[in-house]
Amino acid sequence: MILSKHLPRRTLLRGMGSAIALPFLDAMAPAFHSAYAAGRKPCRLAFVYVPNGVMMEDWLPQTAGDAAALPADLPRILQPAAQFRSDFMILSGLTQNGGRALGDGGGDHARASASYLTAVHPKKTFGVDLKVGVSVDQIAAQTVGAQTRFSSLELGCEEGLLGGNCDNGYSCAYNNSISWRTPSSPMPPEVSPRAVFERLFGSGDISQDPKRRAQQRADEKSILDFALADAKSLRISLGAGDQRKLDEFLFSVRDIETRIEKIEKAGGDVAPPFAKPSLGIPADQAQHSRLMFDLLTIAFQADLTRVSTLMLSLEQSNRSYPEVGIPESHHGISHHQRNKEKTEKLVKINRYHMEQFAYFLGKLKATQDGDGTLLDHSMIVYGSGLADGDRHEHNNLPTLLAGRGSGSLTPGRHVVSARETPMANLFVAMLDRMGTPVETFGDSKGKLGYLSNL
């Protein structure tokens, strides 16, 4: 039953010291407008990305048929998530053709991350005229984002790379993000846990006195109106290329204004469930990612957002992993040339990433969300834009889909699709479940296939 009036969930969260199971009241079910998921809890969508591919021999479960149950003995890289085996499925056969060269020469890494969620072959450029497509998370955010404080959250655990030429003539902007709001506007991930915290819960320099705070907020709104007015009158006098730059400004300002309105409607900021993280980036990746996953879980639980992407590291990452005794660069190792020493190291790194993802699954599973857990009401994709990182393969990408999608997914299986099935078919199926169905996606010409066996 959809109720048009509801108690703001925040009323209950404010004043709570920690984010544990909250009693569910019928009156608290937010009114949402998803045609598909009528009567269900809103579905959350997240994409967790790892770069440089994985050792496919240690990832793919050996099963027969196109939808067999996951085997008792999971492949090595999946083992850290073994306790959640009934909560996720492995998808194989999916391909991202946009990542291939298609006549553009080198640049597989930049193309892998740029095409991963967009299914578009990116334009080869040092920086001028960035062009790829709108990513699947942003398509969902365009619709469901209106109902939450933040239309989406882009998180990351590795600082963006500087430089105009990251991979063979492709701008670093392609490696630095997987989320694209428009074909030329990447959504850069936030890597500072404190900054994410402050975005979600407000920063400390805002007044504690509610009257003064409301005043500050009203001031901010008129300042934003002032900025909008300046931008609009400026825009008229500019050429097309310049207008595009200003449009980014206009969009960003409106986005913030909308958010302030939502905060006011909800009666104020959400109270944070744990202490503000220290300034700075944790050097230990597991510690860093755990903080990020904690924040994302809270954001989902308090319905601050329903859409997110998280890059555990950037595509083509050269990061070393002293945490597991590997001083060499990840990218270097991923070019293993079938050397046993290197492939073993690569598996170690792949497992280390999976451990962090397993932590996230644990948090989602332990968090009550109405009549189920957050994990029940989520669709979380874990994967990479490359399969074998040594040969830069863009087909049969390692893809793990966790969660029950509010009752729309059947996990615990290895779902095999035909060779060269576009990844976009998965996105079409997921967008449908988010209540934001599409007919075409990315480069596709005409109606896409639909991954129906999920």
């Binding site: 105009g164 063979n168 300046d230 730059k245 400004f249 700075g280 002293p322």
Partner: protein, 767 residues
């Protein structure tokens, strides 16, 4: 009839004269299947189609004209074939034809301030040093620089940061940082304990690792006043090494270990000396060393160190057997302020230009103050509507009954969020020229002198402009040309991410990497300050060193922590290619790479970047290098295969010539057991022995180096990549540079006076 159909004629020229040449000499590698160097020439069948790819043909012309293509082992083009190919290319694309004019094909778009520009602009506009942009996301780069208009995007996240920064900065500017009730700890700095120390939380207060035990950082002091620097020295000069060993008496220890000086410096000036005696480890009895020093508000360099250690032969002499250092600073706390000045912050006067202070403001001043604020923030006189809108913002505060200052503060917050502040909107006008000039030379907004020249419409007068450029080059703010332009041009920022393997290079700590960076910045700075020839970049016979760096280079006679000018004899060192900074940035953590170094030189100094490598190149076998075989011999594989040789014969010889410098820039005669052979031959046939002769050979044609420098600096100045249509103008700039004896000021002047710099196109009518 054919004469009246020029298109058809050109078409038949391509298919009859050009394509056969390509088929004979090129298609073998550059076909659809192999796509060597990412190039498929087979696909071009006719003139019309070929003309759509001018960049391809430019590359072809470059390679054929320089003799790099076809690869040396394959037959050369005959003269007739060369003429057919080059002739068609030149006619179609016209290097010096009517196609090349001064009009840039790419209109300069508005560009948002990048992080560094934002910090500098806020400092100059409001007088507040807070570095808010350190929290902004990193700027994307293009063409090697992070100030390229089309690349700088604005996400909602960045907009939020602008809002938060505006709020904070407006408070700081009007009220200053609120004074604490009592002096508080405003800074707590720790030193890393080892090069590869893992930190559980890499907060900004952990300073780089120093074998010589120092702690150094930059700190922003919010108020004028006295501050206490509390630090503790750890003294492990004597450690028990054998079980049952009897610890010597203090008397004996004082004799064994002479007294040394622990010095605290601010901005390079010593402010406190503490004698360190004997072996009073951890100084527990004594407690902190404390120095109370007056400090002016603003950013300052703080350094706690043992200056005598700058001159020891080997920094590892300060490290014990148990790998802990003998002398080091454990922490440095900054507590204050004591007796702070209660005056208004310096920023106050910049905003409240009516000259009144609290309580004495006249309402009529509001318009004056806001008009002045908008003029400086928008970098041009504001329209009356813009001022009106600002007045309306201030009015909100007035209506609430807030004091005058608060209403102004609110307006400051608004101004910092206006697109007129965040974006540089430079269109044809003297104000636009002033803004472009100041961001080029200072990475910041114009000062009043420039604004006045713009207001009087004098700036386009070439004598006035020249005088301004010279004035600006002499201003300390021009250090941005070294710190920002050169640091990016030479890729010095990568030095901060370099991690030379501590096992192979135990004497190189993070502090030494900082010293390396300083050497290059000071060197570039001196070429600018002394208006030297830009050729000094390549082979100037001087540099800047301090004791530790001189030891690293093996250069005698330089002592102390401070950098000093050192004349070089040129035998081993002289010019950027012999700087440890560049040599380290173009190496791997464990070894040198002649390929990386060759590529670095080609890309950054000569403007001739090699094509990207083909995919699936197997990795070089590392084993045995230095023991049984030299790196050079391993790289011979490049020559064995003609498809590889074409590009590698450009890169490898340069790298070989620099092999006399190891992966951290130290001079070497051997790599392990294998003697270094730093001879080589460049593609044009010139051969050399060692780095000195290599550098001379590279500089033999000065036009190549200077043209590249012109292009790079022009990219930085214009905020866009250099296109084919700009070629004629770049040549004019280069000629002006040459005519000015290659002095740095001639380069800056030539760029500023060029059509490309002075005119903007395609952004609408309103100035």
């Amino acid at each position: 009839m054919l004469a009246f159909l020029p298109g058809l004629q050109a078409q038949s020229v391509f298919s009859s004269s050009v394509r056969p040449v390509l088929e004979k000499h090129c298609f073998g590698c550059h076909n659809e299947k192999l796509m060597t160097a990412g190039l498929n020439l087979e696909t071009f069948r006719d003139d019309v189609q070929s003309k759509a790819s001018p960049d391809v043909w430019k590359r072809v012309l470059d390679r054929v004209a320089s003799g790099t293509m076809p690869p040396p082992s394959l037959p050369r083009l005959t003269e007739k074939e060369q003429r057919a190919l080059a002739g068609w290319i030149e006619t179609s694309f016209g290097e010096s034809g009517p196609a090349a004019t001064a009009q840039p094909s790419v209109p300069v778009t508005i560009r948002r301030l990048n992080r560094l520009e934002y910090n500098n602009t806020v400092r100059d506009l409001l007088g507040v040093t807070a570095n808010p942009a350190s929290e902004f996301p990193l700027d994307d780069s293009g063409y090697g620089f992070d100030n390229i208009a089309d690349v700088l995007s604005l996400s909602p996240m960045l907009m939020e940061k602008y809002l938060a920064a505006a709020r904070k900065l407006s408070h700081l500017a009007v009220y200053g940082e609120p004074l604490p009730a009592q002096p508080a700890t405003i800074g707590h700095y720790l030193g890393k304990h080892s090069q590869d120390a893992r930190r559980t939380l890499a907060a900004q207060n952990i300073t780089p690792f120093s074998l010589r035990g120092s702690i150094y950082t930059t700190h922003v002091f919010p108020w004028d006043g006295e501050y206490e620097f509390r630090y503790r020295v750890v003294n492990f000069r004597y450690i028990l090494t054998k079980p049952g060993e009897k610890r010597p008496t203090e008397e004996e220890l004082r004799k064994l270990f002479p007294t040394v000086d622990a010095v605290l410096s601010i901005d390079g000036i010593p402010v406190n000396h503490s004698p360190i005696v004997g072996n009073l480890a951890m100084e527990f009895d004594r407690g902190d060393l404390v120095a109370r020093v007056p400090v002016k508000a603003g950013e300052h360099q703080i350094r706690a160190s043992f200056p005598h250690l700058a001159d020891i032969d080997n920094p590892l002499n300060n490290v014990n057997q148990d790998l802990r250092r003998k002398l080091w600073f454990d922490y440095l706390d900054i507590v204050g302020p004591f007796n702070p000045s209660k005056d208004r912050p310096a920023s106050y006067k910049r905003i409240f230009v009516c000259g009144h202070t609290k309580g004495g403001h006249l309402p009529s001043c509001r318009r004056t103050i806001l008009t002045n604020l908008a003029r400086r923030a928008y970098r041009r006189p504001p329209t009356s509507r813009e001022v009106q809108n600002l007045m309306a913002i201030a009015q909100r505060s007035v209506q609430r009954g807030d004091p005058f200052e608060e209403s102004i503060r609110l307006a400051v917050q608004a101004v910092l969020v206006s697109p007129n502040f965040i974006f540089r909107i430079e269109r044809n006008s003297d104000y636009a020229l002033a803004s472009r000039l100041s961001y080029f030379l200072w990475s910041s907004m114009p000062d009043e002198d420039l604004f006045r020249a713009a207001a009087d419409k004098r700036l386009r007068n070439s004598r006035v402009l020249d005088a301004q450029v010279r004035r600006m080059l002499a201003d300390p703010k021009a250090s941005m040309l070294a710190e920002n332009f050169a640091a990016q041009w030479l890729q010095l920022r990568a030095l901060g991410r370099s991690t030379p393997d501590p096992d192979r290079f135990p004497k190189v700590d993070e502090e030494l990497l900082d010293f390396m960076r300083q050497e290059t910045i000071l060197f570039v700075q001196s070429v600018i300050n002394e208006d030297r020839s830009v050729h000094d970049f390549l082979n100037g016979r001087f540099t800047y060193l301090n004791g530790p760096l001189a030891r690293h280079y093996g250069i005698p006679g330089v002592t102390g922590e401070k950098f000093q000018r050192v004349e070089l004899d040129g035998a081993q060192r002289g010019g950027l290619l012999t700087h440890a900074s560049i040599l380290t940035v173009s190496s791997y953590p464990t070894r040198t790479s002649p390929v990386l170094r060759g590529k670095w030189v080609l890309e950054n100094l000569l403007g001739a970047p090699p094509p990207p490598p083909p995919p699936d190149v197997p990795e070089l076998k590392d084993s045995g290098i230095g023991a049984s075989v030299s790196l050079r011999e391993r790289l011979e594989q490049h020559r064995a295969n003609p498809a590889c040789a074409a590009c590698h014969q450009q890169m490898d010889p340069i790298g070989f010539g620099l092999e006399s410098f190891d992966a951290v820039g130290a001079w070497r005669t051997h790599d392990g057991k294998v003697p270094i052979d730093s001879s080589g031959t460049l593609p044009d046939g010139r051969s050399f022995q060692g780095p000195r002769e290599l550098i001379t050979a590279l500089g033999a044609n000065p036009d190549v180096f200077t043209r590249n420098l012109c292009e790079r600096m022009l990219t930085y100045a214009l905020g866009r990549g250099i296109e084919r249509a700009d070629a004629a103008e770049v040549e004019r700039i280069r000629k002006r540079l040459a005519a000015g004896n290659y002095r740095f000021s001639s380069l800056a002047l030539a760029i500023v006076n060029s059509e490309l710099f002075q005119k903007t196109i395609g952004t609408g009518a309103r100035p």
